[in-house]
């Protein structure tokens, strides 16, 4: 039983990583195809430095991810605090239903509806080009917000309101009570929300596709490439990203198990 379950887990992992292994393998191809392996070479990694289209796109992607994750974390945390204090059940469930829409809806519908909004207002304002940096940014903030709100809300619910009350009784202003008492107790939720927003933004293709105009993010450039021919430099860049993320996760895992061990020993 034990061996069988291990074998099963290994098979699923193999399935999940087969295409990624192909990606890593062909990034070292000396030829310019991702189909036929001609020989080992690091040439495509060197080429990356000169591929301004891809580097620009990477920069756009990171910029959008950082700004949209930060903005949605601030806006979403404020909203979560404001929603928790709502007394009317009806208003609360109305806001939560609207918040759920971008999460429940298909990405393509969200993307298309935002695109129509931008085009509609662009026409009204007489703009020649209604899509670009700001529209992708708005779109990303919009689909990030529910994830931030839904990771902060449960933490707020676990926080005893009496704590903030006590701080105010002891002379804190509501603002400083928030920053000194409430914020520290919900910080893990805010952090989770930020990370989720950041990764969702990095990875988004469908919504960006409909709202970006000529402001191309990395997934858009990759999409256009797969419509023509994919050269190994795309795979090289993706391999580098994969390695960075893998290293970060391993590091996180190691520090986590170390701190667990320490806690175990001090007990």
């Amino acid at each position: 039983m034990k061996i069988l379950s291990k074998l099963y887990m290994a098979l699923v992992v193999l399935f999940l990583y087969a295409p990624i292994a192909v990606m890593v393998f062909f990034s070292f191809n000396s030829g310019s195809s991702v189909w036929v392996f001609e020989g080992f070479s690091l040439a495509w990694y060197g080429e990356l430095v000169f591929n301004s289209e891809m580097l620009d796109a990477l920069q756009h992607t990171l910029l959008i991810a950082v700004i949209s994750a930060t903005a949605s974390t601030v806006l979403g945390t404020a909203a979560a605090v404001g929603i928790t204090s709502l007394r009317s059940k009806l208003a609360k469930s109305a806001i939560m239903s609207v918040t759920n829409i971008p999460m429940m809806n298909a990405d393509i519908v969200t993307g298309v509806s935002l695109m129509l909004l931008f085009i509609f207002f662009g026409k009204m304002l007489g703009l020649s080009e209604s899509l670009g940096f700001f529209t992708v940014l708005i779109a990303h903030i919009t689909f990030n917000l529910p994830y931030v709100i839904l990771s902060v809300l449960p933490k707020l619910r676990q926080t005893d309101p009496a704590l903030a009350q006590a701080a105010m009784d002891l002379g804190c202003t509501p603002v400083s009570a928030f920053f000194k008492v409430v914020l520290p107790s919900i910080s893990s939720g805010i952090f989770t929300g930020f990370i989720m927003a950041f990764t969702l933004s990095l990875d988004d293709f469908v919504i960006s596709y409909f709202t970006c105009g000529h402001y191309q993010t990395l997934p858009i450039v990759i999409y256009n490439m797969t419509k023509r021919t994919v050269t190994p430099d795309t795979y090289a860049l993706s391999t580098l990203i994969f390695i960075v993320v893998f290293a970060l996760m391993l590091l996180y895992n190691v520090t986590l198990s170390r701190s667990e061990k320490k806690r175990g020993m001090s007990r």
Partner: protein
């Protein structure tokens, strides 16, 4: 006290404004496009034209249904076996399941062509032992494979999360009372893990039914899914925005109805809530 409630109103005001402007208004504008023709006159013709896309709708629903079921069949045992591992291994497996999501899904999908094509890895290996070539690419099954592959982590993670929080004393009690492993799984773990299953199904079904990339790359443009139709029409230009909006609205309605039915169903099963 007054000052405090004013402060909290100020906190939620920007978000309410934002979600009204960028969640509600876009849907209304989409409705406006769906109910007008290209000249801006009120018309129902976009909806009466929809019968032309009936096949695309049906195929999308069928493919999404099949791939959701397969994903569930693969993910459930995986999550179950994961909970039986040591905490360190559990975390490692979590990382291994999540990590592919950080690699661009377009590339992961595209890589399958290299594996499955007529001169691809599988057929080359088969050729070495004198078999094949098998025709693996550009078939309905390949599109479903792509969906299962791309969305599998979305099924594994919620099921594992719920399952790993099930109190061990419950399964121990069942074992003490004489239930064997299979019975414990069926009577204790399965009902308690339903909320995870429901959110997993939602997270796989919605992107599957609306995808437009997987079918283009792995189905060789032979199968037009509804997502492909929407993308194709929007790319044709502003004259086609109206009918594309009508299709998008219907897609949204189908998704909402499916989610609603599933939530009702899961409530009867003993209580997972997604919405």
């Amino acid at each position: 006290m007054n000052k405090k409630s004013l402060g909290q109103r100020l906190l939620r005001a920007p978000y309410i404004l934002w979600s009204a402007l960028f969640i509600i208004v876009p849907l209304f504008i989409m409705g406006y496009y769906a109910l007008t023709d290209a000249a801006g006159n009120f018309s129902f013709s976009n909806f009466s034209d929809l019968s032309r896309y009936k096949n695309a709708f049906l195929i999308s629903l069928l493919y999404a249904f099949i791939s959701t079921v397969i994903t569930l069949i693969i993910a459930y045992p995986l999550a179950y076996f994961m909970t039986k591992c040591k905490p360190g291994t559990q975390r490692m497996m979590m990382i291994l399941t999540m990590l592919p999501m950080w690699t661009n899904f377009l590339i992961r999908t595209y890589s399958w062509i290299t594996i499955l094509s007529n001169t691809g890895i599988i057929n080359t290996l088969l050729g070495k032992i004198g078999l094949g070539p098998l025709h693996l690419i550009n078939r309905p099954g390949t599109v479903i494979l792509g969906m299962v592959y791309d969305f599998l982590p979305y099924m594994v993670l919620p099921i594992f999360n719920v399952m790993s929080k099930i109190d061990v004393s419950l399964t121990e009690a069942a074992e003490d009372l004489g239930a064997n492993r299979f019975r414990v799984l069926r009577k204790v773990i399965l009902p308690l893990s339903m909320p995870g299953v429901v959110s997993g199904i939602t997270m796989v079904f919605v992107p599957s039914v609306s995808t437009f990339y997987i079918s283009q790359k792995l189905g060789g443009n032979k199968t037009m899914l509804i997502g492909d139709v929407i993308e194709y029409l929007f790319n044709l230009g502003p004259d086609y925005y109206n009918v594309a909006s009508a299709i998008s609205l219907v897609l949204m309605a189908i998704i909402l109805v499916s989610l609603f039915i599933m939530n009702r169903f899961s409530d009867d099963e003993g209580g997972g809530v997604v919405l």
